[in-house]
């Protein structure tokens, strides 16, 4: 499967790379415009700036009200979203094929000449504040946000992409406009289309949509390499009336292109990546403590997070955490068995067919390769890389990269002295901090 030939690729006159992944099974096209930088460009104390800028641009171009813009998109049978992460912004949507050209036209206009109107800005700012308040209803995302903050601290990866009530309320339109203008330049963009397209039929429309964008080189903004904090540190996010606990345990993950990526993909799949993996087997299948369980090695331009996630009942939270620490120690110190590594590799190899099932899925690794400046064979050589992982290389990479002594542990639960004291008694725990869920 990895030997398949990717779709056509070309550059616009302004040098913007365009990737096409044709599939004519349905009259549908998925469109992505990816910015090569994201929320790491938020200055300290201005968290949420990039996301506000992208969302304000999404409110429509000059000469077209936000309401008219949304009506036009809906009438085209199209969706359009803006997602902002630490290292990228993705403008993404789907459209019925017959309306692709006008859709691209609208997309181009919000990049070239976004309205960025004061009234829209004021409304968006209030909406974002309301969303931050609503986050308190959603335990898992709230715990995940607290975990990132605890792990990365003041590093740009620890700053909340959506900002805080304080930073958002202080944001000014002028800085939001200037920020978007600095990001929406030719050198920062990557374009991808998947679905019912050919190069001949869409090239002019893409060229036309992006013509007139300011020409400038890609942003060189880069976050420094994050550093792990020493010891096992617990953050207890206190929320009333919880019958179960959202639990995150982890440390630093990997950077895209890290040589340990493939061995750790295999190792983590065996540890917490499938239903029969060690973690899921012990926590869910053997004990029934948590309906969901898993572990993930996150990758980004700089090392992202590695974490275990479970949500045990409140009564089992401490026992579950103790078990997770024990499992983590066992994995790092003793490694995986040959059979675990063999089964993980087989699963990754055979399930790869689904990574390529749709045109949109086939497009993603091409975009990521460009975005992170990877060797073209890095993601395209998936099967070869997985096949090349041995038990020794998986276990060596685990020992090198998976933390078990230096861990951030975040629980969202109803705090009481009994719980705090039990957490303090866990092996290696240096400190337990308690915060209200309203402050996350």
């Amino acid at each position: 499967m990895s030997a398949r030939v990717p779709g056509p690729r070309f550059h616009t006159a302004a040098g913007i790379p365009v990737f096409l992944e044709p599939s004519h099974a349905l009259p549908l096209v998925d469109v992505e415009v990816v910015f090569r930088v994201g929320a790491i460009t938020d200055p300290e104390g201005r968290e949420g700036l990039t996301r506000l800028a992208a969302r304000l641009a999404r409110r429509g171009p000059k000469g077209m009200s936000a309401e008219r813009f949304d009506e036009t998109l809906d009438a085209l049978g199209a969706t359009l979203g803006m997602s902002v992460s630490t290292e990228w912004i993705r403008v993404h949507g789907s459209v019925i094929r017959r309306n692709l050209e006008p859709y691209l036209g609208l997309l181009g206009r919000i990049l070239r000449e976004p309205g960025m109107r004061a009234a829209d800005f004021a409304r968006l700012r209030r909406k974002t504040e309301a969303e931050l308040v609503q986050l308190r209803d959603h335990d898992r995302p709230l715990a995940a946000r607290a975990f990132r903050g605890q792990l990365f601290g003041s590093h740009p990866y620890g700053r909340p992409v959506s900002g805080t009530l304080e930073t958002v309320s202080e944001m000014k339109l002028a800085e939001v406009k200037a920020h978007f203008a600095s990001l929406a330049v030719s050198g920062n963009l990557i374009v991808g289309l998947a679905g019912d397209v050919t190069e001949e039929t869409v090239r002019d429309a893409i060229e036309g949509a992006l013509a007139g964008l300011p020409e400038a080189k890609a942003s060189r903004a880069r976050a420094p390499k994050p550093r792990a904090k020493r010891g096992r540190r617990v953050l207890l996010v206190d929320k009333p009336d919880r019958t179960q606990t959202q639990l995150f345990v982890g440390g630093l993950g990997l950077a895209m292109g890290d040589p340990d990526f493939w061995p750790l993909l295999v190792a983590n799949t065996a540890f917490g990546g499938t239903f029969t993996s060690r973690l899921v087997h012990e926590v869910r299948s053997e004990r029934g403590w948590s309906y969901g369980a898993g572990s993930k090695v996150g990758v980004d331009r700089q090392p992202d997070t590695f974490y275990l996630w479970t949500h045990p009942g409140a009564e089992q939270a401490v026992d579950c955490l103790a078990l997770e620490l024990e499992l983590l120690d066992g994995w790092v110190q003793k490694g995986l068995t040959a059979d675990e590594v063999r089964r993980s590799k087989q699963y990754l190899k055979k399930s790869h067919a689904f990574d390529l099932e749709t045109a949109a899925k086939r497009l993603d690794p091409q975009i990521d390769t460009e975005l992170f400046g990877l060797d073209p064979t890095w993601l395209a050589g998936y099967l070869r890389h997985v096949a090349g992982v041995s038990r020794a290389s998986a276990n060596d990479a685990t020992r090198r990269r998976i933390p078990s002594d230096d861990l951030s542990i975040t629980l969202l639960a109803t705090a009481d002295t009994r719980l705090v004291s039990a957490l303090e008694g866990l092996p290696g725990v240096r400190q337990v901090d308690v915060v209200s869920h309203e402050t996350v």
Partner: protein, 456 residues
Amino acid sequence: MARIQAHTADPQALAAKLNRGVRKKHARLTYEGRVPFGEALSIDRWRLGNGLAILLLEDHAAPVVSYHTWYRVGSRYEEEGKTGLAHFFEHMMFNETSNLPWGEFDRKMEAAGGETNAATWIDWTYYYESLPREEVGLAVELEADRMANLVVREKQVESEREVVANERRMAVEDDVHGAADERLHGLAYGREHPHGWPTIGWMADIEGYRVKDCRQFYDTWYAPNNATVIVVGDVDPEDLLPRIQAEYGALRPSKITPRPAPAATRQRRERRAEMRWPTPSEKLALAWHAAPHASFDHAVLEIIDELWTGGRSARLRRRLVDEMEIVAELRGGVSGLQHGGLFDLWLSMREDVAAQRALDVIDEEVARLITEEVPEAELSKVKARTELFFLGEIETTSGKASQIGFGETVTGDPAHTFVRLEELRRVTQDDVRRVAAKYLKPGRRSIVHVRPKGEA
């Protein structure tokens, strides 16, 4: 659409060939015809002698297969005091069988690179495997085995009980939307009505399941004559069908007494309930009794839902979220059930905003639907969005199999999704007025009002 299907040239001849030498009557295959699935694809309908229905759609666009098994049993088939059993079996079915030790189902599936899961609702329970094409035989083997040979003993029941209790804590006990939705269904139908109890079951019932109850449930409903197997993807019927004959052909049908439709609800007046919750703002969960999924009125209600909550320019979204800025989160939906469901809305208010303000707007919008024609351009816009979502739902093999399984189980037509697309296209301005007037009456409505704990 491009043609990506290789039709079996002569299914009757294939049936004759496959039945040659087959002595067991339960294993004999009958070809029951072909159903178009859009312009380029079609479904071949087969049946085994034991009643197992097989719907096969060849799609050679990618080297993968989705294998779905839809059982005509969901939470409405349960009894009071034993609620949640259908969902409980969604878990139990991944445990041991008399042929397969505990954990082996998942180990085999992962070794094959497969993805597997299941879902339960009021009318159905389904299980699926998505596999590389060369592994389809494994799905046939494992699904046939667990249809008949599941081990249902104390140990198995106990091991899943805690997992399901934890799932309920996540989805209901600690989730304001889940808790309000459960209350809403109980209010609209009554807690003793099969649509009024939660599919996951009441916690007390989950804690009280006995092995005998579970065994009886399994023996009754898990049988070939109560199931439809849907296979979509890169398969060859001449390879697949003999495997199905071999694996399912020995299974005996169950004696199933047809289950009458749940009693019609007798609601005549608006019903209201209030909840207190640790939440920063007020919420509203409200619903009107709606139409069965297969009816044209259901299609019209889907249009109204889109008109109200679909895109950013939808009526309620625009007024409540963007213009008045009083609602932070808005969702709508029409449940797709055999015997009538709910047209429901979920609103999370902005902090310190009274939910009544949103309710007033909803009342105004109901009146507007009934008294004013929806402009043709607005109706076209909504239809374009529904077409986009329709295409998205049938993009993958698993998406197609889901649509086929749902259509077959709930409406009796495996290609119902295309019928629905046509119905949505022909909804008129008059249809919207008529259906709004018929269904969106105060007397059909139930409202759960959530207020922050500690608020006066």
